[in-house]
Subunit: 331 residues, 4 copies
């Protein structure tokens, strides 16, 4: 399809042969120059709960996360992403994925001190984002104050704000989307469901998943060719009504909205984009179609198709294509 | 239609000739033996905001109420209703309604110290509920912390819990529904949209309105023949999704649900019933059809029709017909 | 406030002294050069039901309309509005409003052959739109095939498409908004809830209502200074979810979307704009805040405030300000 | 846990070692003594589309099904289930599952003439339900009239009725739930997420999944000890609002509602139960929590816990425990 992809020995397409070894995106570490304000936004506006805190970190969870914390905030000079964590399906699956990463020529190291999970293999792929693979994890056991009435629930609803239920997906900016997607497909077992190919045939976007959700790990092209930057991190709510209510809450609590609620075409999710006080772009999302097909063909979207807008005709502001964290735009 | 109604010289039917003089239900005073717990429920679970407080009262408002406080909680030995307040459409309309109440042979007196409004004429009708008529009122001006970004909003959303927007309606228990409805129709200008007539032809329920909502002031027959008791007070949310979310929040915060979310036939509203810690029944409601017809015929529902259940077939538990506040069931 | 308004002896502000005499917007006649295609759109896509038809007209109703037909389609050379009908609250109210129209120096005539209603007084106000006032009307009695199971419903749901429930409001383009709004306020009893004032102090938008909905009869300035043109006619659905679903249905059935679902600030309604095949702009709307206040202050919005976008930041495409029917843009 | 389970050499618990080999429930064949009426219900009320028809069958699909037909209706003397079809993840996975079924001592045969899919291995497990395993399938390619505007959609929305999007899950009645669940776990790779254990420790319900949805293949105990009967088949809509709208449509189109919309505890889905004209119980469902955990512990629910009602306190009518198809209740 693209010049870049033809260089790959094993270009990503459809379901990865290693599908299933990575179970899901487990956690994201966001960097913020405004730790207090960011923590306040994620707790009182998004409704996450704090499960750990030290001078430079806040560990936060959504009510339906079975692990301890889907989000870590870390004080830093600049906004951006610290790392992302991927939980594997078993200890054996972890061993296989580590082997595959090493076989791809990527160095890495075992990290022992992750919050809420066991040993993690940390490496940095071609997109420049530190990534952890881990199997052992700590399941959340609600303290009395958060204990729900029935055992299918993990915590209580409605404490504050938008009441997001869990971390959903992450969109990373990559200097070379094809290289990033290829590694995700070949070494991590990510299925490539959708790709955007630009006017000269180069992959500009890759939408990959580890399960039945239509996207979990998304790479789009960094407009500055930089490595390691974040486009956005997305949090799940159960209904589109909650996305609409979230927009009211963003407005009423001073969280800048970048794109008001609208519908994506790729993934068919309903969304709202804004910026947390540290500067990172966040998405409130719901409603995507599940992918039940075990052999899903990769859909290729041309740049022309994308220029028509998404969903019901929504077009994005210029910032959506230009801004990421850390911000590298010329002052 | 019923034996009782035939005794009325001017039985209520359809729109009252005085329609429009009372503008809307303005506020309700609930009595509670558990003031602190009740106030906590209405603020942290329902999401009302406290605008005033003293040793025996809490004054609370929903975000979209243009007046100061739609709900007053008053410490008392027993749960129940202290009074309800009806705002008139003008000073002249107030004078007309006071005259009509007096002409109906009901004594009353002017009360000067109401929270958030001007002089009120207080009387007790045949149903035994203290009722105030008032015109002058204080409009809510949000303090900095609650100030919304645009002038069409009165306050901020999402501070806590269910985030109800305003007081909606009240359902009073009356020993003689027909007498209560007749006074509401003839002296207060309430339109009778729906009535329930029992198997022997006596009015057992009267659904009246002062505007275009399908119900505002509802009388149903007191199963114990008592006067002055409360069936429930209802708070509005904008969407059925918020009623469903409210059910989660009730469950997760220990607010007993009496009837899970379902659909009414009369009024076509969507509802959830539960009990606040003081023992009063509360409803979370939305979605009723507006009544645009200026000459709406009264619909008569037979007891047989009511036994079929409401909406999509929901039947009510025994408590719904038997319980009111104060509770007068034999110990 | 504005130069134009200061010329009025009795400028519109807040509730009209004649409030209540007009009960509600009853029906709208749309002109269409594509009668068949328009009728198909309104029935199979919007879900209205045909209750009458001849060679040049289709008479259509929403399921919850108590009158016979909220919408008439009339074959014509150009798209636009034929007339609008306002139902009064009584025969006496009709007489008063006719007297007021005549007193304002506007000629008019009684029309006897309206579909589904009795004699109507037809006049054309300063905005150039033929307007009917009527009291007698025919209530819809469902034929067997449309008979609902309970008497609070007027028809059946779910036959097709979006399943709109009723006509909601109309937005007319006027060469002189202040003059149009003044007549509506003084002669028709419309309350002015919101006005837009342009940068030189002239009224550019007037949002008026005959009841508790935040808008029913809206005038905005005709960009071409023309008279008698239509901006849009709006149909009500009960939930925001149905507006979102409507967007899918518009896309899937070839109905061009002009503005994807978003939130208005004025009126706080949720909306979707598109074009029916005849060229008239239509809105699918829900969710507006009711106006319970009997003495609502008129809110004045500056052009600067309006330029910030509506609701959660949505800005309108150029067509929204430029296009009306009939289309008078230079070829 | 239960007497029955202790007899199993390899009792089902959590994720199956064969997880992933079966991709998802692909189709269900319902038997109906009222083929025409059933087909009309599934098309005009549920909104499925007919993709094939002969004298004794109707083949139907939901708009988001990538395969040809999720539902087959077959004329028969009695209501019930003809068979269910499970699509595997690959040809190899199919071979492995067939081998496992044979190794479990169950006879089976290859069937070549399935509508819309390739060769299927058909067997009948201990629950008595004919079950097909298949890999090759025909993907739906929309004809012009159903072609959607963007390539992420498979068909058009809003043609009629509830507009369900796809087959979701099936609940079978089994004489021995533990035996049925054990086979599903060991031979089919189903994960056991939830089980109900009765007061004497016998498994009375098993909720199993092949992917991330909380339930796909459910077994509950047949109250008559019969084999091969159906409790219900469930169809997916995207939002809870659509379940509520479905209830209106059921009522308005004469589809009997058994349980009005409410919330399940197990699976946390939102539901509505009714009966199609052939007598089979159908569910409209949405909203379940996804199971991201690759190692989910089986939750055990006691009969006492179940007696408390589901979700927000909903209790089921007696028919829910007593009725299945074919109906074997004594006349």
């Amino acid at each position: 399809m693209s010049a870049t992809r033809s260089l790959d020995p094993d270009p990503p397409s459809g379901r990865s042969p290693s599908f299933g070894d990575v179970a899901h995106l487990g956690h994201v570490e966001l960097l913020t120059p405004e730790l207090e304000a960011s923590a306040r936004c994620f707790t009182s506006v998004l409704g996450l709960r704090e499960v750990g805190r030290d001078a430079t970190h806040a560990f936060l969870r959504g009510e339906s996360e079975y692990e301890l914390a889907g989000l870590t905030l870390t004080a830093a000079d600049q906004a951006g992403i610290g790392h992302l964590g991927l939980r594997t399906s078993s200890a054996e699956a972890l061993a296989r994925r580590v082997e595959a990463v090493l076989a791809a020529g990527l160095p890495g190291q075992w990290v022992e001190d992750g919050f809420g999970h066991g040993p993690a293999f940390r490496f940095t792929g071609p997109s420049g984002h530190p990534t952890e693979l881990y199997w052992e994890t700590e399941r959340y056991a609600a303290p009395e104050a958060d204990r729900p009435p029935a055992k299918d629930r993990l915590g209580r609803r409605g404490t504050a704000g938008i009441d997001v239920r869990r971390l959903d997906h992450i969109n990373l900016l990559a200097p070379d989307v094809s290289a990033a997607a290829s590694l995700a497909w070949s070494a991590l077992g990510a299925t490539l469901l959708d790709e955007i190919v630009d006017d000269v045939g180069v992959m500009a976007g890759a939408f990959t998943t580890f399960g039945q959700r239509p996207l979990e790990l998304v790479y789009t092209r960094d407009p500055y060719g930089a490595a390691g930057r974040l486009h956005h991190v997305a949090f799940w709510v159960d209904t589109r009504e909650e996305v609409l209510r979230a927009a009211d809450i963003f407005v009423d609590h001073g969280i800048q909205i970048e794109v008001p609620p609208a519908q994506h075409t790729i993934g068919r999710s309903f969304f709202l984009y804004g910026f947390e006080p540290g500067g990172n772009r966040i998405e409130i999302t719901t409603g995507a179609d599940l992918v039940l097909d075990p052999d899903p063909p990769t859909r290729t979207w041309t740049a022309a198709e994308r220029r028509r807008g998404v969903g019901w005709g929504t077009t994005f502001p210029a910032s959506w294509g230009a801004y990421g964290t850390p911000d590298v735009r010329a002052e």
